[in-house]
Homo-oligomer: 393 residues x 2
Amino acid sequence: MQINRNFDNLVPNYLFAEVASRTNKYMKEHPDKKVIKLGIGDVTLPLAPVVIEAMKKGAEDLAHKDTFKGYPDYEGYAFLREAISNYYAGFGVTVDANEIFVSDGAKSDCGNIGDIFGKDNVVLVTDPVYPVYVDSNIMAGRKIVYANSNRENNFAALPDENVKADIIYLCSPNNPTGSAYTADELKQWVDYAIKNDAIILYDAAYEAFITEDLPRSIFAIEGARKCAIEMCSLSKTAGFTGTRCGYTIIPRELERDGHNIYNTWYRRQATKFNGVSWPVQCAAAAVFSEEGQKQIKENISYYQDNAKIISSAMDELGIYYTGGKNSPYIWLKCPNDMGSWEFFDLLLNEANVVGTPGEGFGKNGAGYFRLTSFGDRENTIEAVERIKKLLSK
Amino acid sequence: MQINRNFDNLVPNYLFAEVASRTNKYMKEHPDKKVIKLGIGDVTLPLAPVVIEAMKKGAEDLAHKDTFKGYPDYEGYAFLREAISNYYAGFGVTVDANEIFVSDGAKSDCGNIGDIFGKDNVVLVTDPVYPVYVDSNIMAGRKIVYANSNRENNFAALPDENVKADIIYLCSPNNPTGSAYTADELKQWVDYAIKNDAIILYDAAYEAFITEDLPRSIFAIEGARKCAIEMCSLSKTAGFTGTRCGYTIIPRELERDGHNIYNTWYRRQATKFNGVSWPVQCAAAAVFSEEGQKQIKENISYYQDNAKIISSAMDELGIYYTGGKNSPYIWLKCPNDMGSWEFFDLLLNEANVVGTPGEGFGKNGAGYFRLTSFGDRENTIEAVERIKKLLSK
């Protein structure tokens, strides 16, 4: 009996555990202080009323023999896939309902998609990076190369013709840096992927936060259907972090190495997955209804206003940052060339505000720091006032 | 870019597709005939009222800021894991809540658990077999050996000391054969696993159908904590096929190849999974409440009575079968040495009843046939009458 020895190559990721540990220690030692957490990327606003209603109706369906639902389709119910297809059409991107797989979240799909690729492919990620892209490929024994996102490229790495990669993870708007690619920049990645016979795994989880004229989908880019898979999630779009629903789009014509990618992923899902809960699919479809879109946009606006409050403070303080505009994240340079954990401790101890040290996301995160706009309004305002007071000293 | 070439070794499984195709053709050609389907292993009764109520309450929680739930724990909420632990205590098996991982179903866990094992392990499955065990390991490039379940062992294969295996899939009560291992038989497997440094992956999805004095869990067997992982599901226990919830139990002390198995699986799940939907976990916990247990047992009894109706007919007809007693499946020998597809066509054309040809589950299924008790009462009675009439001719 052998364990998968690739697990030995995983670096224990203590980032959020260490954040929690230092925070809890401080709170225990200072029970009188009000600590405000702008660290974790989890939403706080409740689901939209029309979504709750659909979820309850879905539950009620399961209570009666004539509306009861057994095993769902592996790829999701057609009514939900059609709703997603229409949503894409709404911003001018053509995606057929039959190219969509509904799942329990983009994290599962990002992690599991590796099953269909050989282990000798070289994986490219941008650094700083969402750790799932790295860890799931280390588990599979793949070589990983890093494209540097840094101040020179506004934390939005571009392809390097001298680097050869087969699988490319892109996340735009980016977690953790909040940067968002322009159409021209994405076109460079698409051209690079086609030239290298590579596949782009495009994580669009934050697309609903885009406010400027930027692509909401990789499929807005010419050529992407020949080289890209898109993963998206309702977690941030509609507050589904605890409800669990996402989707993956694979163009029907996408082929590599003599295999049709849609069919290969279908076979993987049919073998290792049994579809998404009926009331959750009902709730997800409600997100894409006219009323649902109106309601979720109110929540997104709330978070966007929080982001504006944080980024305005950075502007006032003259601190360099990315994100905030098309993203719920503000990625800032720690003042006075502080290290990211040093700045973490300073903020915690002197302003009682918790953020996330950038170096937890990769080497280019050293000296940077992530704040999120998912907190509530009053706390965000208070946190920002405390930060301004501390750093204006 | 290379595709995972192991996918080339998958045998296209046309079983249910072929069943559907022949059935639909017949129905199209004979629109006046009432075809009764006892083929697919999907439930038909609605969820228990207390489960629906909990699911709706869970949905309502998501509608309010103070009860809203974001990302769940990777391993499931403690209240659900404790409820499962108490359920096991109810039949005398000690499983700590901290040894349980909640998931979206046993199929996901059965498929994904392979991630933590090396690819050079030899996998043993009993034949006939639930195809997920085979296909997920072919995808991973593992060698598979087959233990024959057949009439000599009442379709419950036992270990062969001359065969070396590292990972052993057991399903009891069995899908598709309905056979259930005795404690003595399971002890043989446990001893074999310990001797071979192997791990048993025990699929207990049908444990709630056990009526005789047989083990409901592998952990009822001495030594199992040193060699077994148990997967279970609420799909058949509580009609959750469309609701999606299951769980996996890993003893904390289970180690192989210098790795703690619980920790390794935790790392896998934390990387590629984001937990189960809040309303679904609420619904699942309700299954294990006192009222929930009472209500789900009514549904199980209904299916068990269907099983009795089918198996009594087999007794009357003098047809050899396994299952029916501790299982929703009746696995029968096709009369007159017919092939399983031949019998399928006969039943469809002459009795308008649909079942599943045994050879779709492996070579030992040739000449056998699966009927399920998940249909409704009147249809089950009518189907059985038609079969009796046909075969008594």
